[in-house]
């Protein structure tokens, strides 16, 4: 029998309308308060019109020198079950030992909309290694059937997390082409493969996937197969789209045996300094931000909508003028498109 005791009657305002003051919230997030981070992420996920306004203000308040040059935003992708979460867990152990705080966004697939669109978010269990750790914050996210494997919410959420944690990791499942999007988010992208990943090698050879900055061949404890895969990956990566001066390392690791982790860890740091020294970090983040804006507009309004404000070239120009924080400009463009839509009918 269902027994219900409505003791906590909703006497006062418990409605979602009770939105936080974005500037206050931003201050708390910058002070690294966990509750504020959680609240901020909820807000960024909220699609109600009043929440959107609030989100834009929050993101603007969080934007600054740090969001272009601070922290390290890492994208981890690879086929299902390759050991991405286990590896993230092993990496976190290292980062935490070094006293660095970590925020994780773990993206999982949603079921198709006609099947309800629900999702099982199962990465936490693999990522967490200590019962209680104030320096680690994991938010799971469903991809909500967006193409490309990474929900549009991920970019603003990463932006928020960068304000509160030293390192931000985004884990996404990548099968075939869909991991492309993570390349438009991470400062450093790491592809996790497992032994006998024939597919990965095929994709690499045919140039379907962009070359990740770091390759990790996990499950090296399984022996020879892992070494063989690592060798093949090293040979298969096509050379054209490589960045000069970066060596695209292929690391053999085992998340369960905890081997090769220090080396992998070192490569992440090395890539971060490489970007910073080459002056690439803020360029990359700005580019990623712009890519996100374009995507958001396209997804919401389609090519027709984009044309209403002058097309991609015009959007690009307007964004270029908004160095650092393009969220407000994005919202202005949205409103313009909406008002044009309205005036045209």
């Amino acid at each position: 029998m269902v027994w219900r005791g409505w003791v906590r009657c909703p006497d006062h305002q418990m409605t979602p309308a009770a939105l936080p003051d974005p500037e206050q919230l931003a201050l708390r997030i910058l002070r690294r308060e966990r509750a504020a981070v959680a609240r901020g992420l909820n807000l960024l996920d909220n699609k109600l019109a009043e929440a959107r306004q609030c989100s834009v203000r929050l993101l603007a308040a969080l934007s600054g020198e740090h969001s272009l040059n601070g922290g390290h935003l890492i994208g981890i992708t690879g086929p299902p079950g390759a050991g991405k979460s286990s590896l993230v867990s092993a990496m976190i152990r290292e980062w935490r030992r070094a006293g660095r705080t970590v925020g994780v966004l773990a993206v999982d697939p949603s079921s198709r909309p006609e099947l309800g669109g629900g999702a099982l978010l199962g990465d936490r269990i693999r990522i967490k290694n200590a019962a209680h750790d104030e320096g680690l914050f994991i938010r799971s996210l469903a991809n909500r059937n967006q193409l490309g494997g990474v929900a549009t919410e991920v970019w603003p959420m990463s932006w928020l997390m960068l304000a509160a944690f030293d390192i931000v990791v985004v884990e996404t499942v990548g099968v075939g082409q869909t991991e492309i999007d993570i390349a438009e988010i991470g400062d450093t992208v790491c592809y996790v493969a497992q032994p006998a990943s024939g597919d990965t090698i095929q994709y690499l050879k045919s140039g379907i996937i962009e070359i990740p900055d770091i390759f990790a061949v996990n499950k090296s404890d399984l022996g020879a197969a892992a070494y063989k895969t690592a060798g093949e990956i090293g040979r298969s990566a096509s050379r054209q789209d490589r960045r000069d001066d970066w060596d695209y390392p292929v690391c053999l690791v085992s998340a369960t045996m905890n081997t090769g982790i220090t080396e992998l860890h070192g490569n992440f740091d090395r890539h971060r300094s490489f970007l910073a020294h080459a002056g690439l970090l803020q360029k990359l983040r700005t580019r990623h931000q712009s890519a996100w804006v374009v995507r958001v507009l396209k997804e919401e309004f389609g090519t027709f909508g984009v044309e209403l404000i002058g097309g991609y070239a015009e959007i690009g120009k307007r964004l270029e003028a908004q160095y650092g924080n393009q969220f407000e400009e994005c919202e202005r463009m949205r409103q313009q498109i909406i008002s044009r839509f309205k005036s045209s009918d």
């Binding site: 027994w3 219900r4 099982l120």
Partner: protein, 672 residues
Amino acid sequence: MDSRQTKRDRPWLMRTYSGHSSARASNALYRTNLAKGQTGLSVAFDLPTQTGYDADNPLARGEVGKVGVPISHIEDMDQLFDQIPLDQMNTAMTINATAPWLLSLYIGLAQRRGIDPGQLSGTTQNDIIKEYLSRGTYIYPPGPSMRLIADTITYTIKHVPKWNPTNICSYHLQEAGATPVQELAYALCAAMAVLDRVQASGEIKTDEFSQVVERISFFVNAGIRFVEECCKLRAFGEMWDELTLGRYRVDDPKLRRFRYGVQVNSLGLTEPQPENNVQRIVLEMLAVVLSKGARARAIQLPAWNEAMGLPRPWDQQWALRMQQVMAFETDLLEYEDILDGSPVIAAKVKQLVEGARKEIANVEAQGGIIAAIESGYVKRELVASHMQRLRAIESGELKIIGVNCFQESAESPLTLGSDGGIMKTDPSAEREQIERLQAHRKNRNDADVQAALQGLSDAAKSGENIMPSSIRCAMAGVSTGEWGDSLRAVFGEFRPPTGIDIAIDNRAVLGKKDEVTELRARVASTGAAVGRPLKLLVGKPGLDGHSNGAEQVAVKARDVGFEVVYDGIRLTPQEIAQAAEEEGVHMVGLSILSGSHMELVTSVLEELRARDLATVPVIAGGIIPQEDAKKLAAQGVSAVYTPKDFNLNTIMADMVDVIREANGLARLGPLP
């Protein structure tokens, strides 16, 4: 014919699975049960003992002495077997991750009483594989865990030859939803994994290996489809014979006998009209006694009030009497195998054997059962089977009398008593056990303890057999938590896959399709109204390992459109509240069946409040008596569900309404 002159077979061992509150209280219970004609002991340990924690560990809070007896050190063991002659008793211990430790305490106690361990007989369950898949009292990763099993086997073969060091369990697989074919296949895979591990240890000479095979016994389930279950046991016998001959070259057919004990199915025992469980239990028992060639060696039966809470002595007595009537009043034991030669039975057995062979080959192709556990494959198969069972109950295709049909009932006198018809454990048991433990720590010789623990840790690292150093620990007065922690430090800990990541099957399994469609619409529109898709955290606080309900709620919630976070069993209230915060969920759903709901739900509520999450609604489900449900509501729990609420669609509709109400939206009411 005069039955007094007929030669009758000896009946099976009759046991009652019991233990509660304290070693002293359990000892009293055992002695009364033995006086009632019970012929062996079956010890139920509490969850801290099973998971290697001391009674005063924060993780043990609320669990000490609840679902079994707490054994923290050798003095507890001494009290548990007070006035019970160890050399004459057959003792079965349901103990797994800490099996080497409890066996060491038993051997240590025998030595202290001047009894030769060679005289000891009994069983340690000691099967870690089904712990990862169903039972949930695992501690260490698969590698070291399998080694501990191999250590107890090689040790007992040499020093405690009458002991059954491991009992491969298919019982728990069925309780987690396994079909007969799955039960056969995964249990036999588990047996192979154990035997292969012992063989690989190189500790046993080739010509002695058949002795190891002979010592492997099984613990099997028997469900209500008793004809099929009887065939399953014949199939087990056939397949075991074939396997031990073919794979392990055991030539003596006597050593290839499939020896097994039984607990009959409890998953199908119901909370509504609980008296019907008596018929179910008797019919289920029939499956394992009917065929002489495949008869159980030992039987323990659940009680009529299984789905309500723990059984009282009278309830257990009733269960024991069922066995006695079967064994002593019926003519069952006067005949040879009455099913031999039946073509119908033979055909069914063949079908089961073939199905099981195919699934075994499938697991072997994945690298064996351990690999298939680590990858999540086997657990997913079980969750999927259980889901199908629940869908069939929901749709009415599978009839459960008193639950989804024939629900009308006169008032039952059985549940009217002031105790609500269940056993209440001693509320002061936890405090007393802690005091006893702390006093014990003061009384022992610290140097001895430290030296013994060092020896244990060294053995764990070097790979030397764990038993001698564990027995030394037992004699030195080491505690259960100290033993567990020493090995945790060397081996690490493990959390197996939850298995809920099964595909949505839109064809047969979704039950009433229109209800599901309606639910999806409600979840979607409510999500739109609150601004983002509904997100649910399913939490299992405490040491409770009953995961079925949580898994099925999680899977169903996903199927109707929730975004679901479920991190598996054995989390602290703090971890659950932290996950609720980090994940930004709209609701926290707790599942607790071990009886510790009052302590645990209260703690979760406190932790949520401390994080400013008081507005997130909390619901709870499991074995929660009505009066407790009221108390929980008074503390702020929005809804409580028990096994009577078998219809998950109804629960889902209700959950959506709880979220709506908490967000100032109008309720949508029951499904049409």
